[in-house]
């Protein structure tokens, strides 16, 4: 019992595997549902950059799915 208690406080390699998977899969699932998001992001950067000064790395494109509606969310912070 005591031994197990000590172990629980250590981050095991299994815990790390699970956490890494949860992060990468969240990303890949979104990507696979809307494979066009990356291209869309690039196109938006091109267009906006013609008119205003932006930091390309700060642009966030996100597709969110509720039970009934899908929302395409685009965040463009302007410098």
């Amino acid at each position: 019992m005591l031994f197990n208690w000590f172990r629980k406080n250590k981050k095991t390699s299994a815990n790390m595997a699970k956490e890494r998977l949860q992060i990468i899969l969240a990303h890949e699932r979104a990507e696979n549902k809307a494979p066009f998001l990356d291209d869309l992001r690039q196109d938006i950067i091109k267009v906006i950059a013609k008119y205003v000064d932006i930091d390309p790395s700060s642009i966030n494109v996100n597709l969110q799915k509720d039970s009934s509606i899908e929302v395409l969310e685009i965040n463009i912070p302007i410098k």
Binding site: R7, S13, A14, A17, K18, L21, L25, E28, N32
Partner: protein, 265 residues
């Protein structure tokens, strides 16, 4: 009869699809179901050897779709039960030798005479996998508790969902309880939390499987083996029986070994 097509797939290769196909097919047949199992890993024929039927093959699945032979000429009867037939993969062709439509047509025909049509899918997400996916009424996804197998399983689950194949369940294969306890292998619950589809079975790492494959006698014929017991439970669940998931426990270690192990870490 209105048979059901059950596809066994995984994404990553070598995680136990063919071993599971053999055990599930034979197990269902031994429980009185009429079963035909088709090896769709064209070019890499395997299921025949795992089932111990390799000497009986004359015709294969490509011969059927190319109408070189009649359907029943390519159906190899199992040695142990009259309820199981195998249709072998072609060994000298590749995945493009058949189309998904042809496999759908074949399985529709077989549904008239069989309770279960079990499709052993090749690894990957390309054509060969699509041939196995398109006819499926239900899909069993096999993964091991390893990071790359789980990631690939998730990809396959995504593809199945987008093709409206929503009847899915999961087998976690090759769980090693000692490693899980040490925290060096993801547990059944860890994998389930990541993949989030219903579990149909957990098969422990079983060193006997090598010799069962050597002799062409799948685990299910060795009812006392750990893997045999696990597959027996899976078959019961496929048949709609309610069986609790057995906890896979590590072999008992004495207090002394526990202390030694503790200091080793």
């Amino acid at each position: 009869m209105a048979g059901k097509v059950l596809t066994i797939t995984s994404g990553k290769g070598g995680v136990g699809k063919s071993t599971s196909s053999a055990n599930i097919s034979l197990g269902l047949a031994l429980r009185g179901k009429k079963v035909v199992t088709i090896d769709l890993d064209i070019g890499l024929r395997n299921l025949d050897m795992i089932l111990g039927l390799e000497n009986r093959i004359v015709y294969d699945v490509v011969n059927i779709v190319e109408k070189v032979c009649k359907l029943n000429q390519a159906m190899i009867k199992d040695k142990r039960t009259d309820n199981l037939y195998l249709i072998a993969a072609a060994q000298t062709r590749d995945k493009s030798a058949v189309t998904a439509e042809q496999i759908v047509e074949l399985t529709e025909e077989l549904k008239k005479d069989f309770d279960y049509i079990i499709l052993d899918s090749p690894a990957g997400i390309e054509g060969g996998f699509k041939n196995a996916m398109m006819p499926a009424d239900e899909v069993i996804i096999i993964t091991t508790p390893e990071i790359s197998a789980v990631r690939d399983a998730d990809r396959v689950i995504g593809i199945l969902e987008s093709n409206n194949k929503t009847e899915m369940s999961l087998i976690i294969n090759r769980i090693n309880p000692e490693l899980v306890k040490k925290g060096d292998m993801m547990s059944k619950d860890d994998v389930l939390q990541v993949l989030n589809i219903p579990l149909i079975g957990v098969v422990p790492e079983d060193k006997n499987i090598v010799s069962y494959t050597n002799t062409g006698e799948p685990s299910i014929l060795h009812s006392q083996s750990e893997s045999g017991l696990a597959y027996k439970n899976i078959i019961q669940r496929i048949m709609g029986e309610n069986v609790p998931f057995m906890e896979i426990n590590e072999k008992k270690t004495g207090i002394l070994t526990s202390i030694i192990n503790f200091f080793k870490e």
